[in-house]
């Protein structure tokens, strides 16, 4: 499975994990949606993102909390961030970005997008946005809008 970048953000992912935890760590997707009064469109990206990071397992429409997910819930807030750093670096395109551009460097957005166009099937703009958001969260990337550059730390 091509895991590029989670489309949902940290808060929603942890929110989903918390929610699952109330139900003995597993629930059907449609039940989750109806309990939280959310559209399927709202909940599916969160489920997919959590799955990408190995925090839940999807089995025939049923969403189950993994051990990793359970562990994450028991951490303090700073500790969770460390976990996410490792997960994002290992399970998403961010590792490829580091491999390609290196660390402690500055990349023009133009070149960054070119690289993405090779790696990503479609919707490059959205992927770029999410990569920058996650990159900033794990303190790896910083996007300078004025200069249109990405700083890799």
């Amino acid at each position: 499975m091509t895991s590029v970048i989670p489309k949902a953000g940290v808060s929603k992912i942890i929110g989903l994990l918390e929610f699952l935890h109330d139900f003995e760590d597993k629930k059907d997707a449609d039940e989750i949606a109806s309990e939280l009064k959310l559209d399927l469109d709202d909940i599916l990206p969160v489920i997919k993102s959590s799955e990408m990071l190995d925090l839940v397992k999807v089995d025939d429409g049923q969403i189950k909390l993994t051990d990793l997910g359970l562990k994450l819930l028991k951490q303090t807030i700073p500790e969770r961030k460390e976990y996410f750093k490792t997960l994002i670096l290992s399970k998403t395109i961010l590792s490829k970005i580091i491999k390609n551009f290196g660390r402690n460097t500055v990349v023009k957005r133009h070149d960054f997008i070119k690289f993405l166009e090779k790696e990503v099937p479609e919707d490059v703009a959205l992927h770029f946005e999410k990569i920058i958001e996650w990159g900033q969260y794990i303190e790896l990337l910083k996007y300078d809008r004025n200069e249109d550059e990405i700083h890799i730390q």
Partner: protein
């Protein structure tokens, strides 16, 4: 344990255009150290106003509010607040927002940035110090609001429907984080007073719930929640509490 907060015979009347709106009358309750108290009631019953009276942002028509043995007159600096609409200053970045309370106290830049950084880290926003609120999601904005309220090391943290402007999942996340912060003995807050209209949220988070009626609001019930943490929303005891509160409200 001495009383942290004593509210006695509180009455608030709003005068608008020659109509008199009585929000509450003869409202009394006390709060002790290290409690997590939720105030719940139907919309418009004046619970937000009550919170503002306690925080010193508004004055009661009659009655008294005594905090740590001292009468509350103006804004009380042992109390700080988290707002429903986040209330971040759009022209200040995260660290300047978090440090604003310290700046008001006259602290110099170096010291207040040091303290602010500590709380920014505590809410998981390290790396966002120079970011502006317009670039943050709702959940992150509220985290800034919380960090800002805690940076002044309040004895009591007041929260006015802090999660109602967030989506369901983010709210779940933030509730958990606020509880973690409260339970951390090394950091403020020690005591929390929260206004909410979400019964489940109140039962999940609080040690005690004050149920208010329609205006003029009266204290219908004072419920002590004795559930072990972490609380299970699907357990029978939890449901009993929520049922009890709902029946009081209807």
């Amino acid at each position: 344990m001495s009383d942290l907060l004593v509210v006695k015979d509180l009455r608030k009347v709003y005068e608008t255009n020659d109509r008199q709106l009585e929000l509450f009358k003869d409202l009394s309750f006390t709060m002790e150290d290290r409690e997590f108290v939720s105030i719940i009631g139907p919309s418009g019953c004046g619970k937000s106003t009550l919170l503002r009276l306690i925080a010193g942002l508004d004055k009661p028509t009659s009655g008294s509010i005594v905090f740590q043995g001292q009468k509350v007159i103006n804004e009380n600096l042992g109390i700080s607040m988290v707002f429903q609409s986040f209330g971040l200053f759009p022209w200040l970045n995260v660290i300047d927002n978090v440090a604003i309370g310290l700046e008001a106290k006259g602290m110099n830049k170096k010291d207040r940035y040091e303290i602010a950084k500590k709380y920014i880290e505590k809410v998981g926003l390290d790396g966002y110090e120079e970011t502006y609120p317009s670039e943050l999601s709702g959940g992150m904005k509220q985290r800034v609001g919380v960090a800002r309220a805690l940076a002044v090391t309040p004895t009591l943290l007041c929260m006015d429907e802090p999660f109602s402007a967030l989506d369901a999942l983010t709210a779940e996340n933030l509730r958990e984080e606020v509880l973690l912060l409260w339970e951390d003995k090394e950091f403020p807050p020690d005591s929390v007073l929260m206004v909410t209209h979400n019964v489940e949220e109140a039962v999940y988070m609080s040690t005690r719930i004050l149920v208010l009626s329609e205006k003029p609001a009266k204290l219908i019930k004072d419920v002590k929640i004795s559930l072990d943490r972490p609380r299970n929303k699907k357990s029978e005891e939890f449901q009993e509490y929520t049922d009890l509160i709902y029946s009081c409200l209807t």
